[in-house]
Symmetry: C2
Subunit: 123 residues, 2 copies
DNA sequence: GCACTCATACGATAGACGTCGTACTACGGT
DNA sequence: ACCGTAGTACGACGTCTATCGTATGAGTGC
């Protein structure tokens, strides 16, 4: 029950995507997932949206295959939740699970990323 | 001056070890450095000690070469400060620099690691 | 000076990672 | 039924990583 992905109900519910159960999420895996510029950008965008986003809603300077790869890494390491909604695949941060396991961690990383972006004049 | 390693004075001051300046520390590098079980254990031990530690003071289930490798990664990514003191090499967390750049990040990771260790019965 | 200890350097190796392009599948609309 | 769109699968490629063993360098103490 920690990784219930059927809560939206109205989805066509075709293929199931494998997510790690909350208890199986490992800190080093999460850190590894976040330790990549592309993935960190994805996570920041998802966090800023506070709503589920289409893969294509997050512009990345890499090919579509690479994009798929990064989303999968984030999902398999327990950082995001993905579910199909028709032809699109919606993405959402697993805030509740992560907050339960590692309170404050994600917010700390996001704040750090914001500070660095401001400091370096990016973003 | 952000990376002054001569503050201890009494050290023999032989070889200098390269450390990134505070402004050059990148979040993804720090996360990557922490995203390894061995290195996370090193950092946790250093944080718990709150004092500088010899490399050999941190027992790791890997060879000495590998140990050296991990310490170098941590240093080159700005997580720890190393300085020679005679034949030993002392290690210390760069808490001030990291706290200045990414407030709360390290503490968040350490707390997360503690919680996970308790949850999994390790530690 | 010599032995001992702490740590490095240097290869070597096996595996993981980020990236790409192309071919393919799934769904939705017309 | 058909096409278009969103995303996957697969194979390839070069790079990076974690690990090791052995040989080497730097200090301490006898």
């Amino acid at each position: 029950m920690p990784t219930d992905t059927t809560s939206t109900g109205a989805s066509s519910g075709s293929r199931a995507l494998e997510h790690p159960a909350r208890a199986d999420i490992r800190l080093t895996d999460v850190l590894h997932a976040l330790a990549d510029p592309m993935r960190l950008r994805i996570v920041r965008t998802l966090a800023a949206a506070e709503d589920e986003l289409n893969c294509a809603d997050i512009p990345l300077p890499v090919s579509k295959s690479t994009c798929t790869h990064h989303f999968r890494v984030l999902r398999e390491h327990g950082v995001i939740q993905q579910l199909y909604r028709g032809t699109a695949k919606m993405n959402r941060l697993r805030r509740a699970d992560l907050e339960d396991l590692f309170p404050g961690l994600i917010d700390g990383v996001l704040r750090a990323a914001d500070l660095q972006a401001r400091r370096l004049g990016e973003d």
